[in-house]
Amino acid sequence: MTARLRDALRETAEAVPAYDVHDRAVATARRTRRRSVAAALAALALVALVPVGLRAGGAPTTAAATGAGGALPDRVSSPAFGELHATDRPRLGPASVIFSGQAPGLVWREEGSRVVAVGADSDRYRTFTVGYEARTGEDVVLSADGRRVAHGSGSSGEPRVTVIDLVTGRTRDLATGVAGSVTSTPVAWSPDGRRLVVRDTVAIDEQRTDYRSVLSLLPLGGGPRVELAVGPHSGGFGRTVAFAPDGRRLAYEVDRPAPLDSADGRRPADPTGATVRVSDLDGREVSSFTLPPSTWLAGKGAWTPDGRWLTLAVRQGYTWRLRHVDPANGREVRMIDPATGGEAGAARLPWVSGVTAIRLLGWTDAGAAMVVSYLPHPNAPARFDGPLEMDQRSAYGNVGTVRVLALEPGAATARTLLTAPDEVVAVDVADDVVRAGRVREADPPAGLGPRFWLGAGLAGVAGLAVWGVARWRRRRAYGG
């Protein structure tokens, strides 16, 4: 039955010429060999580069533990693609700075919710994400020694505060226990790192027609929550909290509802200033006073280093200056240098102009005020030389970038200590770094981060394994 087929195959085969493919076969073989070698070398290089890439993460430092205090980098940049996370090994150790914004690498799930922590004394970056538009220094806060960061959950279903230990990489969730809370936001660390001030947002009824704010002192080591204040749910309530250097008192802003405008019932754009309240650690009010318009508690570093006075930030047009007040009554204090008889303290500090706001981080041992200055966004919808609430002045749509400045006594102008790329709109600095006042030349990581290299290395190993198996199977199939 198949004899005819055999004949046809042979007759057909007889008519086939010999193909002259020797030279092309040799050329193809050599090209394939070169490509195989190149691919294998590339895969091996990827695998070999993994430790190098991972070492870019660096070893953890013990700056805080040794009391060195770390140093402020003179610039920060967007994190590299594939940067290590805050809980990855090697651990970061204490951080000098944390920052956030809308710059590349800081946006996560369409929000600027990725925060970068920078090592205390070198440019090692670690990232972590929070569930909301982060404003470092306001709702994501760095402890005084730079070892821990605290952030909220951003989830209304499970309000909690998360504390990340940058030395151990461990995270810990804390619940304030405020009844009906829908969000918990950390706003300040105590100097010893044993307490957090947390602002809870609480619905006033089951229908959640409105909310109120509860400011609490939360011991990390256990123990009851201490309620500091209850007030309206507004951008200013509990926004700025400053612990006295000895950690036994704290000052904080609580909003006061502005009087209604008599003409059309709207709130005036520049309400009278908030109330500043000073409490002890048991929540007992020590004093309180009302701020004038366009005046704010200056920031977490509002207490003078000797713990006697509070510092306020005052806006006049586009210009901001600091002044000291008596925490007992809010009256301005004029400090006199006994040696020269001239003015001392905030009166001798330079003013800052052309910014949306400033926030006082603290005081260096040399007597300079270290402040964050918020530079206006080129497309900012708001004007900043007139009345505007503080939470709008540091909002990402209004801020183009930030600078950390030193306001040195007797200097004519502020000195820039840290610069950030556009769209980095919030920064916090560890108190220890502020006090030390040291600034180091930074060399931020660029290119690809260790996580990328780790992934690439694994892909390279997998590629080599697949290649090896395929080669083995081919050899077996061809019987060579």
């Binding site: 086939v16 020797h22 076969a25 040799v26 060579g480």
Partner: protein, 167 residues
């Protein structure tokens, strides 16, 4: 190394070319197939030249012919190749060859490989299974399908037409 490989190619090219053509049914594709198989052989020449390099080349051709990427390339190329049909003014042998060309192109690469191994190389089903790296059952199935299809496409290739046997 290169010289002995060259000698091997010179000596065995005619036979290998014939197999390559039967496997592909197209001269250009056959050249490609033989070139690829020889390139692979050249890369491993040091290891295989002491054994049976021709068997290695043939296995390489069979495997490449039925491999997925080769099938894709062949399918793309075949679309552009006009189907040759036997014409009345050809001799019997030429007509038969052209009929076979056309018929082979309508078989799957694996069916064609089984057909070539079984009826051109005269291998047993067990040997075909070993060469192709599949089971004897698979060889039987492909062989059966190939013959059945040929019978439908070109019955004269499988069963000699009655009038020809009379003539």
């Amino acid at each position: 190394m290169s010289e002995s490989f060259h000698e091997f190619v010179v000596q065995r090219s005619p036979a290998l070319s014939r197999t390559a053509y039967l496997l592909t049914g197209d001269h250009q594709l056959a050249e490609d197939l033989l070139q690829s198989a020889l390139a692979r052989t050249y890369r491993h020449w040091r290891r295989i030249h002491g054994g049976d390099p021709e068997a290695y080349v043939r296995r390489a051709m069979y495997h490449q012919q039925v491999s997925w990427w080769r099938r894709r390339r062949v399918a793309e190329r075949l679309e552009a190749v006009p189907t040759e049909r036997p014409r009345d003014d050809h001799s019997d042998a030429t007509a038969l060859r052209l009929t076979l060309d056309a018929a082979l192109r309508r078989l799957t690469p694996r069916q064609r490989a089984v057909l070539v191994l079984r009826y051109y190389e005269d291998l047993t089903e067990a040997q075909v299974a070993e060469v192709l790296g599949c089971s004897i059952g698979t060889v039987k199935r492909h062989g059966h399908d190939a013959v059945r299809r040929l019978r439908a496409i070109a019955p004269e290739l499988v069963d000699r037409p009655a009038e020809r046997s009379v003539r």
